[in-house]
Symmetry: C2
Subunit: 157 residues, 2 copies
């Protein structure tokens, strides 16, 4: 797979991201893996569903890679995000960032996950033991009860 | 491989560490991978050699995992460090830490690599283009020209 920023319905192997950023100039690779957690504030999750506007989401993942390069320099980044139904412990997202020195790799990888949650159009539907809920934005500040925004509504933002 | 903290002469697959820490309670896994960089301050490295007192090193890696558990709680950690001859871009160390939330995973993983460089008896011999040098401690504050400390000298510390 040649893409460095991609959405997929298939399980993600962390190596798919890591191998794309390992290089002679780098001494450090930081990888962040987001997995499906069973309990959140005592509530049990049975499984999750992720939906995304795929071309838009992939474009914004690539933009995050560019932001990282501008901020830290001499970086290489790969990000994969899964969509569809995910079971407990499944991997939802993998970020890998390589840099010459470790401090930058940690900081840039942390930046990437925060930005993903801020600006990438991906929605999570929680299937709790006692009901379901669309999580509005990924920082979980807005909840949608019934549906996610339409692509048109997104464009109006 | 059942060990969660190990030294090895074989290539390390990051998944060997990641799979050991993924669990229902965790929503985040941070992985740090240290790779062999070609240039350091303009000097070209041809290859590296790592030596370690293996049983002592593995014991101290496990101790670092315990320190992380004490500091952050609800963590799971796996660490593998390679020894022997490593080529440019080869993986020297893999750390994986899982926690319920991402902030702790980043912090604990960063802590682990700093502690490894402070307290684990592993020595690196740089094979530069223009000579060789044993790097004394991994934070590179002390250099040994000819040899690494004997196991007895270590015990005297």
């Amino acid at each position: 797979m040649a893409k460095k920023y991609w959405m997929t319905e298939e399980p993600i192997d962390p190596n798919d991201c890591i191998e794309k950023v390992v290089r002679n100039e780098a001494g450090a690779v930081n990888t962040f893996i987001g997995t499906v957690r069973e309990f959140t504030n005592g509530k049990r999750t049975l499984f999750l569903e992720y939906q995304a506007y795929v071309p838009m989401a992939e474009k914004i993942l690539a933009q995050i890679g560019e932001e990282i390069q501008e901020k830290w320099g001499n970086t290489d980044t790969a990000i994969a995000h899964r969509i569809g139904r995910l079971e407990i412990t499944d991997t939802a997202v993998v970020i890998a960032v390589s840099t010459p020195h470790r401090k930058d790799a940690f900081e840039a990888s942390r930046y990437a996950i925060e930005r993903i949650k801020e600006i990438v159009p991906i929605w999570k539907k929680e299937h709790w033991e006692d009901g379901t809920q669309w999580i509005g934005d990924q920082k979980e500040k807005t909840a949608y009860d019934d549906r996610i925004p339409s692509e048109e509504e997104m464009r109006d933002d």
